[in-house]
């Protein structure tokens, strides 16, 4: 990067156009390259130091035995071998998968349902939209406290409401079986607004004529939804699925505040385990190995989605 900068810097004063058109154009090209690299420099430098470098470093650190305080020791793939018999790791992986594969479809359904509801030509749509977006604009840590309060086993608001319907609610956050569903409900509440806005934008971009044509053809509302709305919305759906899966794999805040990974390890997520390993037990190498596994999962799942996309997502009318 330094080389083009230096040559072009000396070339800069000669930039005033003169001579035949051809020479002028090539000189202009050189100054364009210089300008481009100068414009890129701040972002590229930060990016190399704080993203590209660390990604490579993560791979290297995963091969080390390192507690940050004594010098690192190279141990090859031992950290990865350690993952095999580590029950907490597998349980964290399972919990993360459970969280992802329940919360993502649920969030999607709620977002899509609300977007369809708000898209019915309501006059005060913008007001409802803003209010429904509020959970998305709150701090997870802060609202997690309220949810803990709502989930209080015997007399918490949620169980009180369930009791009103004659249902004896579970002990939620302190129950092995119900702690994860409770986290999922909270997370859906927190994040549906994002998908809702994307779907609303997608719905509003669908040409009205298509609906009129479907009506003329006598298509039922369900068929119209399936054959007009859904295909045309598929790029938005695809984007939301990809981003929410990546986001769900990284779930941390609400689990830390609401259950601290418990009871037992029933809500310990992968990121929480990485955090504990690296910053509570100071095993940076082992934590890095875990994060490489997380990375691999995200890459595989995202790649799979892009393959599926070819079949299911329609970009043209």
């Amino acid at each position: 990067m330094a080389a083009p900068t230096r040559t072009a810097a000396t070339a800069a004063p000669r930039r005033t156009p003169r001579g035949p058109l051809r020479g002028r154009r090539s000189r202009r090209h050189g100054s364009e390259t210089l300008a481009a690299w100068l414009f890129l420099l701040p972002s590229l430098a930060g990016f190399l130091v704080f993203t590209a470098g660390p990604v490579i470093a993560a791979g290297v650190i995963s091969l080390l035995d390192w507690n940050l305080f004594s010098p690192p020791r190279f141990i090859g793939l031992d950290n990865f071998a350690r993952l095999g018999p580590d029950d907490t790791f597998w349980s964290a992986l399972g919990n993360t998968a459970y969280f992802t594969f329940v919360s993502v479809p649920l969030t999607l359904l709620v977002s899509l349902g609300l977007a369809l509801l708000l898209n019915q030509g309501l006059r005060r749509m913008a007001v409802f939209r803003s209010l429904l977006l509020l959970p998305y604009a709150t701090i997870t840590v802060a609202v997690a406290f309220v949810w803990v309060w709502l989930y209080i086993p015997h007399d918490g608001l949620i169980n009180a409401v369930l009791g009103g319907f004659g249902i004896d609610g579970p002990a939620w956050l302190i129950s092995d079986d119900w702690a994860m569903p409770a986290l999922i409900v909270m997370s859906v509440w927190k994040s549906f607004g994002f998908g809702m806005v994307i779907f609303l934008a997608g719905l509003q971009a669908i040409p009205q004529q298509l609906y009129e044509a479907a009506k003329v053809d006598g298509a039922s509302p369900w068929r119209t939804f399936r054959e007009v709305t859904l295909p045309l919305l598929s790029p938005s759906v695809f984007f939301t699925v990809v981003t929410s899966i990546i986001g769900s794999f990284q779930v941390f805040d609400q689990a830390l505040v609401m259950t601290d990974g418990g009871p037992g390890t029933s809500t310990t997520t992968l990121v929480m385990y990485i955090y504990r390993t690296g910053f509570e037990n100071y095993e940076q190498g082992y934590a890095a190995a875990q994060s490489m596994v997380l990375f691999a999962f995200i890459v595989v799942i995202t790649a799979a989605q892009f393959l599926f996309q070819r079949r299911l997502v329609h970009y043209d009318l």
């Binding site: 977006l133 509302p221 994060s291």
Partner: protein, 286 residues
């Protein structure tokens, strides 16, 4: 709710009833959605005994506005809020500035390797921040950046997402404007500052607000990198508050409400941009 769509459409045939049902459903859904936020505020104003009673009450029996002051006395909430503004504002400003410059190069300037480099930028969108967490921490620690503002802000101020969003927007700015400016003798920097930036204000503001809100929410990085009140953000501060004050619900929820209110106010003030930002990133997925 999703399966309601045909039913809704059928109801449209009797417009008045349908409309009422629609509005009612919207009200109901909104009320349920807002319940946790409303509860947070209501419990925050309850007395100690009331908020800790075995059977929580919904409406405060008596209002205790002094809880606001008590929350500020228990932990340095004001300091935490200021820190959050510095952290979120700093990352948002830096990211927006560097992303705008890079996006201009990707959108408007020709140079060798542009396609490849942009591809590399895009690929990194997929890297979860947890992968870089440990190396970033070690890097910052080696540079004695733990518990300092540069250490907090810099690692999170350069992301491909901003570059990507702004590039999309810059591509849409008509080239004629730039050509005209260049004919008038403006150099690239001047066209960037005087032509492109003013036209891109909505997109740039969107990115800034987006980043500000997501960093206000960020728990993991500040939790790892700040270890004193001088840089502790509200999200981390709330964690500390929880461990030191257990289940004193009224004060806990008061502190939570206090740290949430500025964000909600900002959200309402910049709502248009924010919504547009989400939509734009939605289009970005195409």
């Amino acid at each position: 709710m999703t399966s309601d769509v045909p039913a809704l459409a059928a109801l449209r045939r009797s417009p008045v009833a349908a409309r009422r049902l629609l509005v009612f459903t919207c009200f109901l859904v909104t009320a349920v959605t807002l319940t946790p936020i409303v509860m947070m505020v209501l419990v925050a104003f309850q007395s100690d005994t009331e908020s800790m009673a075995a059977r929580p009450s919904l409406w405060p029996g008596s209002w205790h506005p002094e809880n606001i002051g008590r929350a500020f006395d228990l932990v340095p909430l004001g300091r935490y809020l200021l820190n959050t503004i510095i952290f979120a504002g700093g990352t948002a400003l830096l990211e927006t500035a560097t992303a705008a410059l890079a996006a201009y190069a990707f959108a408007r300037l020709r140079f060798r390797g542009r396609g490849v480099l942009f591809g590399v930028y895009l690929t990194t969108l997929m890297i979860p921040s947890q992968v870089t967490l440990i190396p970033q921490f070690i890097l910052v620690a080696k540079m004695h950046g733990v518990d300092t503002w540069p250490g907090m802000i810099l690692p999170h101020a350069f992301t491909a997402l901003g570059v990507f969003l702004l590039r999309q927007f810059f591509l849409g700015v008509p080239r004629d404007y730039e050509e005209a400016a260049r004919l008038d003798g403006a150099n690239r920097w001047q066209t960037f500052i005087r032509i492109i930036i003013p036209l891109a204000v909505p997109a740039i503001a969107t990115l800034a607000v987006f980043k500000f809100i997501s960093q206000w929410n960020n728990l993991l990085w500040p939790l790892v990198i700040s270890n004193s009140d001088s840089t502790r953000t509200a999200a981390v501060g709330l964690q500390v508050f929880q461990s030191t004050n257990g289940t004193q619900w009224n004060l806990l929820l008061m502190a939570a409400a206090i740290t949430t209110v500025p964000l909600i106010v900002l959200f309402f003030l910049t709502q248009r941009w924010f919504v547009k930002g989400i939509t734009m990133s939605g289009l970005g997925g195409r």
